[in-house]
């Protein structure tokens, strides 16, 4: 029964890869009885997806050092995902609550012995008046990996959100495997941001000057705030390899490409400063 909820690792109904691992974790936050602080409701770890209540680990946008927010950290219980694995992670930010979701380490995508694809599906709901800060660590696509990453976020009209995503094209000195991702954000059911990324041996032209060029790292910060409905931040091409752009709705995308993960992190953090407080860190 539970398997039917998981991303199907074999779309053509083929046998599961040998040793494939399936995991389904979830977390939710809710407003506490006092009406202003937030608390964790449900917290379910599963195998490689280990969830722990946490304390501030480093600077966070929006909620820096705020003791009243619900903090959760995602840690890796095992290596991977490896080819053939299927992970699912559900996040529910209840009405009026604030959740800060951080990660303990990078996610290293590794090939499986059969060449099968690994999948990671993340579904997030942010209810009315709620705020989600998801400060993720990089996703590293190791050589010969074969992975699909899918993040779907559904926001209430009055919800706020900021997330960071970083993709690294291979470990040190290696070329990346096949990686595809999709990040789709809807607000009140309408599309606000929908972008796929594809790189690796099967992605024609990804290393050309329109997509990633010679970059080994790419990422973005997406922020959504209903207060920007009437006055969105101005576009800001603040670096030859980075730009801050207002979306067609009350949101902002900061995008950067870089030679390595450190430069990428620096560029994204620099872009955040243009949003000013409380978004900057």
């Amino acid at each position: 029964m539970r398997d039917s909820l998981l991303p199907d690792p074999s779309p053509r109904g083929l046998a599961r890869a040998i040793g494939a691992m399936f995991a389904h974790a979830s977390v939710s936050s809710e407003l506490a009885a006092n009406g202003h602080s937030s608390q964790i409701g449900n917290l379910r770890s599963d195998g490689p997806l280990v969830l722990r209540k946490s304390n501030p680990k480093g600077p966070e946008p929006l909620t820096h050092r705020d003791p009243g927010v619900a903090r959760v950290m995602l840690a890796a219980g095992t290596a991977g995902p490896l080819g053939g694995d299927g992970y699912r992670f559900d996040v529910h930010v209840g009405a009026g609550s604030t959740m800060v979701l951080t990660e303990a380490s990078a996610l290293l995508l590794l090939p499986g012995i059969s060449g099968a694809r690994s999948r990671f599906a993340i579904n997030i709901t942010v209810e009315a008046g709620a705020t989600l800060v998801w400060w993720a660590e990089p996703i590293i696509a190791a050589q010969h990996c074969n992975h699909h990453h899918e993040v779907r976020i559904s926001l209430a009209p009055s919800a706020r959100m900021i997330l960071r995503e970083e993709m690294i094209l291979g470990r040190h000195g290696e070329t990346p495997g096949d990686f595809t991702s999709r990040l789709r954000i809807t607000r009140d059911g309408a599309p606000l941001y929908d972008q796929q990324l594809e790189f690796g041996p099967k992605a024609a032209g990804f290393d050309g000057a329109a997509v990633l060029g010679a970059a080994r790292a790419t990422g973005s910060v997406i922020a959504v705030d209903p207060a920007w409905q009437d006055a969105p931040p101005q576009a800001q091409p603040y670096h030859p390899q980075a730009v801050l752009t207002p979306l067609a709705g009350p949101g902002v995308a900061i995008a950067a490409v870089a030679p390595d993960s450190l430069e990428l992190r620096n560029l994204l953090t620099q872009g955040l400063q243009y949003l000013g407080p409380p978004w900057a860190i």
């Binding site: 999709r182 789709r184 954000i185 309408a190 599309p191 606000l192 941001y193 929908d194 972008q195 796929q196 990324l197 594809e198 992605a203 024609a204 032209g205 990804f206 290393d207 050309g208 000057a209 329109a210 997509v211 990633l212 060029g213 970059a215 790419t218 973005s220 576009a235 091409p237 030859p240 390899q241 980075a242 730009v243 752009t245 207002p246 979306l247 067609a248 995308a253 995008a255 950067a256 490409v257």
Partner: protein
């Protein structure tokens, strides 16, 4: 579905012709920004740029042109605003959203004059170019795959701008375009396959460097092309 009706091939050529007075000549399809940024220096760079662009922004435009064509062909213009919103969500750069709407408005005006049809005025004031292309293809009796191919060709033909931007042999530029014909046909077929899909499921591949370069280009002091 989507096969070229042998009786309509001339219509497809008309729609895809760079001399159609729809303003395409003022744009390099992101090539000038990439040349200025120093990312396209030679023929190999140019070919990789065009390949990557066709697979990303090209496929998105093709999928939306095909989807708009399929809807216009069944007289379902009420579905177009949803396509507009989905297309907006796939273009983070406000400059590229504006370019798409500018080109859409010009194509709408050209086609509305060349081949008047009530659909063109029903598109609104500044519709996105792929949606106008889809509707125009439908009005000319063409199918979703034709609409996809027309916009892929239109976007790719901007490469001819290379002759004005770089020290190149124009024959070599067209050799690249000739090699791209097979992949463009494949992309048009893929776009046609999703013509009737839920708009939320249409392809959304991103082109980060093209987005970044477009925003820098808007602020450039000296430029030959609008985009």
């Amino acid at each position: 579905m989507g096969q070229v009706d042998l009786g309509r091939q001339a219509a497809l050529l008309l729609l895809a012709d760079g001399r159609l007075p729809a303003g395409g000549y003022a744009h390099s399809g992101g090539l000038e920004p990439a040349v200025i940024a120093g990312r396209v220096r030679n023929m190999a760079d140019l070919e990789a740029f065009l390949t990557g662009r066709a697979q990303t922004a090209g496929l998105v435009a093709a999928a939306f042109a095909a989807a708009a064509c399929a809807r216009a062909s069944r007289d379902d213009l009420a579905a177009l605003p949803e396509l507009e919103a989905e297309f907006d969500a796939r273009i983070p750069s406000p400059e590229l959203r504006k370019v798409s709407r500018d080109l859409g408005r010009q194509l709408q005006r050209a086609m509305g004059s060349i081949h008047p049809h009530r659909y063109f005025s029903a598109l609104g004031r500044a519709p996105h170019q792929p949606l106008v292309m889809g509707v125009a293809a439908s009005v000319l009796g063409l199918g979703p795959q034709d609409a996809a191919l027309a916009i892929l060709h239109d976007n790719n033909a901007g490469a001819a701008a290379a002759a004005k931007l770089m020290r190149v042999d124009p024959f070599e530029v067209h050799a690249i375009l000739a090699r791209a014909t097979g992949p463009l046909d494949d992309l048009a077929r893929r776009a046609a396959e999703t013509a009737d899909a839920d708009p939320a499921d249409l392809p959304a591949p991103s082109a980060p460097l093209a987005d970044i370069a477009a925003e820098h280009h808007r602020r450039a002091d000296a430029r030959l092309f609008a985009s």
